[in-house]
Symmetry: C2
Subunit: 180 residues, 2 copies
C-alpha cells in the first residue's frame, strides 16, 4: 500500500532513530499472541507472516504480511485493547519495530505522516470490507477467484496451506483449483 | 460512537452552515444505490436504515444506521470509489447531510475534528473486524449471542427480518431464539 510505504520513507528520512529494534523470527515463531496488547508497528524487511484467530485449536487465517509492508495486531494497535489475533512467521522473517507510543507521537505532530496514516486507515477499512464480502460468498471457488483478482501475489509468496485456511477451503480443494 | 457525536457537536458549533440539506426518506426509500459515489455523510435525526449488498436479488444486510448516529456508504466515502452498498430506510427517516467535499475540507483544517475522525476510523475498523469474526462463526446461534452482547439496541430498534438477514439466519430461526 503506497500510503504505508510513504510512512516508512518519512520515518526513515525524519525519525530513523525510532526504528528501535530489529527482530528476526524463525519459521513458526510468534510476533504476538491473542490477549496481548500491540505495543508496536512492524515493517517486514524479509519473510512473511500470517494473522489468525484460534478457536479452540481451529485456526482461521485473517491476513498475511508480505515483504516491504507493515504488520501489526491492528485491532489492538488502533483500539488500545487486547488483540484477538495471533501473528506468526511462516518463514524466516526480519522486522523493524517502531513502538506504538512513538508512532502516535509522530502522527500527532507531523502533518505529512498524519495525512498518510488517515489515508492508510481508509484503505485498510476498504480491505476489511472486501474481506467481509469474501466471507459472504458461500462458494469457495468464488472466494478463490476474488482473491486471485485482488491479491495475485498471495499465490507467489504464501504457502498454499495458509491460503486454503484464508479461503476457508480444504487444502485439496485449493490444490485442484491451482491445477485447473 | 462518542467520537462521531463529537464530530456532530463540532460541526453544529463551528460550521452549522455546512448542514446543507435536510432529507426525509419514507420507509423503503433509498439513500444511495450500489455503483454510485458517496457524496455525503448523513446524521440520522430520526428513523433507521440498513446497508446491504445485493447479489442478484439475494440481500445481505451489512450494517444498520440508528437515530443519533452517522451513516454513509463508507467504502466510497473513504476510498472515493463507486460503492458496493445500497442504503435504504427501514422506517420514515430524517437526515442531515454534509457533503463529502465539505467534510474533508474541515477535517484538513480543524485539528479537533481530525483527531475525532481518526479515532472514529480506528473504532470503525474494529467494528469491521468484529463483523468479520461474526462471519467466521458458522453457528447462527453463536452469531446471535455475539450481536446481543455487542449491540443490544439492535433488537429494540430494528425489525427482526433485517436482523435475521444480518445474522444470516432464517427469520423463523431468529424468532425461535428471541422467544427462548
Amino acid at each position: 500500500m503506497k500510503q504505508l510505504l510513504q510512512i516508512k520513507d518519512r520515518i526513515d528520512n525524519h525519525y530513523p532513530f525510532l526504528w528501535k529494534k530489529k527482530i528476526t523470527l524463525q519459521r513458526n515463531e510468534y510476533l504476538i499472541h491473542e490477549g496481548e496488547f500491540a505495543n508496536g508497528m512492524y515493517f517486514i524487511q524479509k519473510g512473511a507472516l500470517h494473522v489468525f484467530l484460534n478457536y479452540d485449536g481451529d485456526i482461521q487465517t485473517m491476513r498475511f504480511g508480505y515483504e516491504n509492508s507493515f504488520i501489526c495486531a491492528l485491532d489492538s494497535f488502533v483500539g488500545n485493547c487486547p488483540t484477538k489475533f495471533t501473528i506468526q512467521a511462516i518463514k524466516c522473517t526480519q522486522l523493524l519495530k517502531i513502538t506504538r507510543c512513538d508512532f502516535f507521537r509522530i502522527i500527532a505532530t507531523d502533518e505529512v505522516l498524519r495525512e498518510s496514516w488517515m489515508q492508510a486507515l481508509g484503505i485498510t477499512l476498504n480491505q476489511h470490507i472486501e474481506r467481509e464480502i469474501d466471507l459472504l460468498h458461500t462458494s469457495p471457488v468464488d472466494r478463490y477467484f476474488r482473491l486471485l483478482e485482488r491479491s495475485p501475489k498471495v499465490f507467489q509468496e504464501i504457502p498454499s496451506k495458509y491460503i486454503a485456511s484464508y479461503l476457508r477451503m480444504a487444502p485439496e480443494t485449493l490444490s485442484r483449483l491451482l491445477k485447473s
